[in-house]
């Protein structure tokens, strides 16, 4: 049997008339009537994504300004020219993807899981290429401090980003949370690159990059918890007792 014959069989079957109970349609129309009012559509993707990039930049710059721009001052021109454009591209892609996740039927440029992997690999690649100091002085204590600093800047980024996209509707909330967390994590890494003057390769490779997956996982976890709670709340509302 050829594909064309399957096509024809499906098309024949699809053309068969399908009626919906007119009473049901009237009920639906009636239920919408009372709340029919004009609504303002969401702005274009580039406007929302631009807003998200500005939020990331503002929080990273504010955090670094408060803690000191020691990192960027110590970086060479080549290092700056590689690290910050890479972060800029990743933040832009993550912002566009976050907007897509919050608007039903949007084009998906990269899957949320793939975005996280690509982001981590890109950062690891750039850091491995630039930093060759393999000492590990105060590896854990300095590393945990950097991880916490990065995450502390990721949290407000995530919250403000969510506020910006609050009118959106995530059809898949966990992937949306993962992308939001990844975006926030990238803002945290940007702050660390501006601030942290510890250029030991393993420190940067492990503790700076770790901000992105930890933040992404936290975003997904928060979204999953919220979905679970909203589902339970809806269930409670709908239960007969």
């Amino acid at each position: 049997m050829r594909d064309r014959e399957i096509d024809q069989a499906l098309e024949r079957a699809a053309q068969a008339p399908h009626e919906v109970n007119p009473g049901l349609l009237e009920r639906i129309v009636g239920s919408l009537k009372s709340s029919m009012r004009p609504v303002r559509p969401l702005p274009p993707t580039w406007v929302l994504a631009g807003g998200l990039v500005l939020i990331c930049a503002a929080i990273a710059l504010t955090g670094a300004a408060r803690a000191g721009f020691y990192g960027i001052e110590k970086l060479s021109v080549l290092e700056r020219a590689l690290i910050f454009p890479t972060l800029g591209i990743l933040v832009w892609v993550a912002a566009v993807e976050f907007v897509s996740e919050m608007i039903p039927g949007s084009r998906c440029i990269v899957a949320p899981g793939a975005l996280l992997k690509i982001g981590c690999l890109a950062l690891l690649g750039v850091f491995a290429m630039l930093f060759r100091d393999y000492r590990t002085d105060h590896f854990v204590s300095a590393g945990v401090a950097c991880l916490m600093t990065g995450l502390l800047h990721a949290v407000p980024t995530g919250l403000v980003s969510w506020w910006l996209l609050r009118r959106g509707f995530a059809v898949n909330s966990v992937p949306a949370g993962l992308v939001g967390g990844t975006l926030a994590g990238l803002a945290g890494v940007t702050m660390l690159e501006l601030h942290c003057a510890n250029f030991e390769a393993l420190h940067v490779l492990l503790w700076h990059t770790a901000v992105v997956p930890v933040s992404g996982a936290a975003g997904a976890l928060v979204a999953w918890t919220l979905r679970l709670r909203s589902g339970s709340a809806a269930h409670e509302r709908n239960s007969p007792e």
Partner: protein, 221 residues
């Protein structure tokens, strides 16, 4: 404000129709029903502006294919009715998330899929609470054969997994392109193509088997 959709040449009869809203809603509905499929986007833009007749026309136009979409996902007719109603309520609530420059059907089906998933999760929770999980799995397994569906399409698609079935439904019933199905299912065009290919493989096997049994028995059993 709403971009090219509202400046479309095909809008002339609709603009005319809007002038009669107060005088004759029936007239408006009839004229909206004449709007070709490509102008669903324009109807949606009118709906966002608060035009009740446009909302009614959209409901009339899209409900049958949406109902069929739910029915093909192994829901009973009663479930499909509930899901249809729930979908329109959800669409109404988030209608501002549709951007007039974007294709409408992917937006519409993305929300319908979400409603279906929520319904499924709710059913699981309800069943868990009532300690009837075993019974539910039996019912779910039995649904294709014993539901009140008489349509050939649902019967044809019955052996396919849900992910393949929904893709075929969107393409064959809603007439969506691969790109639009990819948008509606939050996946890539390549992934949709793969699902279609696998679905066709299964359908080929099933239809060939039907053809053989038909040949042997002299008709469909």
């Amino acid at each position: 404000m709403y971009g090219p959709a509202l400046n479309d040449v095909d809008m002339t009869p609709v603009d005319g129709a809007r002038e009669h809203v107060d005088n004759s809603k029936v007239c408006v509905k009839t004229l909206y029903a004449m709007v070709p499929d490509s102008n669903l986007e324009m109807l949606m833009a009118r709906y966002q502006e608060g035009d009740f007749a446009a909302a009614t026309a959209l409901i009339d136009r899209l409900s049958p294919q949406l109902h069929r979409f739910f029915l093909a996902q192994f829901a009973s007719r009663a479930d499909a009715d509930d899901l249809l109603q729930e979908t329109w309520l959800r669409i109404h609530k988030v209608r501002h998330t549709y951007r007039p420059s974007e294709p409408m059907l992917p937006w519409f089906y993305a929300i319908a899929r979400r409603v279906r998933v929520d319904h499924y999760r709710k059913a699981i929770r309800t069943t868990a609470r009532e300690h009837r999980l075993e019974e539910m799995s039996e019912v779910a397994a039995a649904l294709p054969g014993e539901s009140d569906r008489t349509d050939d399409l649902e019967a044809l698609l019955a052996p396919l997994p849900q992910s393949q079935r929904e893709v075929i439904e969107m393409m064959k019933v809603a007439g969506m392109s691969l790109e639009e199905v990819a948008r509606a299912t939050s996946s890539s065009v390549g992934s949709v193509k793969q699902k279609v290919h696998r679905a066709y493989e299964k359908l080929r096997g099933k239809m060939s088997a039907m053809g053989l049994s038909k040949g042997r028995s002299g008709g469909l059993s």
